[in-house]
Symmetry: C2
Subunit: 303 residues, 2 copies
Amino acid sequence: MKTLLGGIEAGGTKFVCAVGTGPDDIRALVRIPTTTPEVTIGQALAFFQEQTRQHGPLAGLGIASFGPVELHPDSPAYGFITSTPKPGWRNADLAGPFRRALDIPIGFDTDVNGAALGEKQWGAAQGLDTFIYLTVGTGIGGGALINGRLVHGLLHPEMGHFRPPRDAKADPFPGCCPFHGDCFEGLASGPALEKRWGQRAESLPPEHPAWALEAHYIAQALANYICILSPQRLILGGGVMAQGHLFPQVRAEVLRLLNGYIQAPALLEHLDSYIVPPGLGDRAGVLGALALALDAARPGRGG
Amino acid sequence: MKTLLGGIEAGGTKFVCAVGTGPDDIRALVRIPTTTPEVTIGQALAFFQEQTRQHGPLAGLGIASFGPVELHPDSPAYGFITSTPKPGWRNADLAGPFRRALDIPIGFDTDVNGAALGEKQWGAAQGLDTFIYLTVGTGIGGGALINGRLVHGLLHPEMGHFRPPRDAKADPFPGCCPFHGDCFEGLASGPALEKRWGQRAESLPPEHPAWALEAHYIAQALANYICILSPQRLILGGGVMAQGHLFPQVRAEVLRLLNGYIQAPALLEHLDSYIVPPGLGDRAGVLGALALALDAARPGRGG
Ligand SMILES: Nc1ncnc2c1ncn2[C@@H]1O[C@H](COP(=O)(O)OP(=O)(O)O)[C@@H](O)[C@H]1O
Ligand SMILES: Nc1ncnc2c1ncn2[C@@H]1O[C@H](COP(=O)(O)OP(=O)(O)O)[C@@H](O)[C@H]1O
Ligand SMILES: [Zn+2]
Ligand SMILES: [Zn+2]
């Protein structure tokens, strides 16, 4: 029998908590609405304590969180959510309560870094050591594995907040990022689509001009990531990417933007397997949390 | 006595070859004009063979090359310069002749990855594990160390070829990159400055409007790198950065562009030590090649 892992996909709307060993073996899963840290974290903790009573101690717990988060293990705020605008959650200690209550190794990272690790373990990035997982949803964020390790650096990447070129004549919408206006997230997140076109992204038909523009911005972003990070694959998830017709448009536009400069067969001949949806579908988030648990439970890793 | 290393900074104009152990101990250095692969590589090889006769076998040779280059050790073209427009050098085997003639470990990477490694070893990135070295010269290129290892990924980063936002009213110059027009290199390299303003960059006085615009593009690039890679430091070298007055302008503009989103003291309080010139000055290139040699000579590394 494999050792059981726990995972929390900590989102701004809900916490998804699961216990299992991987995609084909989820033993229990609950969704808890994100209200206050006390209540939400309390409910999540109660779930894992009940699971521990049933199955014995878990081998590890992974927490894949919305952010920004503090990831430096030697910082006093390690495991905290930091400068989020979400009411009640600014400077909330997310990992601490679990560390104090459960005596098991705990992995803590951004939601997108978790998802990247899950895709590496069980999904569309198996066998790769350098790739990006990007989510296009309420926000836009990216996680990167480089040379087999997650990127943190200064804090962690904020891949949705760089500024792409924008043709103000073709797209007069000024963007909706409270910090940057027309950064990538401000121009191309789900809420940006909704504000620009006056209806929810889900309700825009495939032939609506929204999608050609959306594909253009996403392709700009991917071309930038390719130049700057040289990933071996780009995995695109999140609510907006449920519009599957975006993929061929994005691929064509990436090719056009790079214009043959980067002579890699992955780009020139195998683009369909270079820009792909998550192998784990809409479970990429929670399975990413399990992957963080697996990583934390590895021998030689501290809790 | 320390073991001697050899290094080649292989540039499009000249090859700088050196033998030594580090910045304070260069025993011999020659500059060889870049003509044809046969002649230039032959002269470089003769230099190292003569050095070997004088000092005995070198512990390793590092080659930091202009590109694009093939870096996958299992590719038949490993060690080649690939799709360069430079006449005679397309698909030239650069590392091979040295590997065949000298029976020592050989490190091969891009010039900017070499420079990054040199700055880590002896320069402005000592003690850091995640940072970028950017050169703004005839071309624009960046090398990155992430979690202590150089980034290669698909091929290697091409950090000069992403597209920054451009206000065509403020700057009607369409850019001069043969592949992308107004990518970062097309807008902000030394030759771009020369084409836009009709005189060599060296001759533009510090109060010329060229420099505010140049600082703006460089800052756009750095803000993008910060969002996408989360580096702990940005090191800026190359001919154009010899204009030291660019540094304060670039720093101020980076702060303005990020607009407080990334709450890191390195950015908010210590920006003067976050965006810096190379610690190795204009020897960053050739010392980077020595650092590649040092890395290749480490026990446990193959040649
Ligand atoms: N099928 C869909 N097509 C287009 N947009 C969608 C779709 N489903 C959700 N969205 C948009 O994606 C955003 C939600 O993103 P999602 O990834 O589901 O959640 P979150 O980012 O909050 O974790 C909303 O702005 C919503 O309008
Ligand atoms: N002091 C200077 N001020 C501004 N630009 C300079 C200066 N020195 C060199 N340049 C410009 O930098 C470019 C050469 O870059 P450099 O880094 O010296 O060489 P390369 O990139 O070819 O290795 C040229 O376009 C030149 O005009
Ligand atoms: Zn933003
Ligand atoms: Zn270009």
